[in-house]
Amino acid sequence: MTETAPLTIRYFAWLRERVGLAEEQLRPPAEITTVATLIPWLAGRDAAHAHAFAARATIRCAVNQEFATPQDRVSPGDEIAFFPPVTGG
């Protein structure tokens, strides 16, 4: 039996600081198929993740380095990033 590829989850700015990690490899259960379902699963991992995802309205997401919406799909092997609204320029 082959194991599915993990998700690479990346965090930036204050999300990175709150989670305490810049990146982690995770295999969520099969029913996690969208950004919208991934977020509460991540938030439920521990207190640090819960704190990071508490202010959901100010969290943005990218799937495979493209800005994503809550409805966007999440598949094994994808790179999913969470971060605050961008402030470059």
């Binding site: 700015a13 977020i39 800005f67 990033a81 470059g88 320029g89």
Partner: protein, 160 residues
């Protein structure tokens, strides 16, 4: 094709301009914007600004923004260079150049590029004040409004 660079090092605006113009005689106007670190933020003295970014996505996002500018205006060329890392007051952060046959598209594309960079390129600024305290800069509604003025589409999305 636009020239896009994401780097810690300073850039040389004169050299970038010369590079854009080299051998070209079809250009009538070049618009340019340079963003620099200001020494105050909300009345407090700033010691430095640290820019974090998302390597890989940053270059893709900037290239997409430049491609959108080239789709909207007939540009002879454009350049976007954005720095990351710790920068002190007076340091240049970002360079935008847009060249066209006429001044109107060159200037419009320059404004468009910096407005979209502010809201669509994955950079995050952390302010470091003179007393040593730090804080992440919150996105400005004014920047979202400026970026949105170029389009009907929203510049971001809410995950929750």
């Amino acid at each position: 094709m636009a020239r896009v660079a994401v780097q810690a090092d300073p850039f040389d605006p004169g050299a970038e301009l010369a590079r854009l113009l080299a051998g070209r005689t079809d250009i009538g106007g070049i618009g340019c914007f340079i963003g620099t670190v200001r020494d105050t933020a909300e009345g407090r003295r700033l010691a430095a600004l640290t820019l974090e970014h998302y390597p890989g996505m940053t270059e893709r996002a900037i290239a997409a923004i430049a491609a959108e500018a080239e789709r909207r205006w007939d540009l002879a060329g454009c350049t976007v260079i954005h720095r990351f890392g710790r920068l002190t007051p007076g340091a240049p952060i970002v360079l935008v150049l847009a060249a066209a046959a006429h001044r109107a598209p060159a200037l419009a594309a320059t404004s468009f590029l910096i407005d979209w960079l502010k809201t669509r390129a994955p950079f995050w600024k952390q302010e470091e004040w003179e007393d040593g305290a730090t804080a992440w800069v919150a996105a400005k509604e004014a920047d979202d409004a400026a970026a949105a003025s170029w389009d009907q589409t929203s510049p971001g999305f809410t995950a929750g």
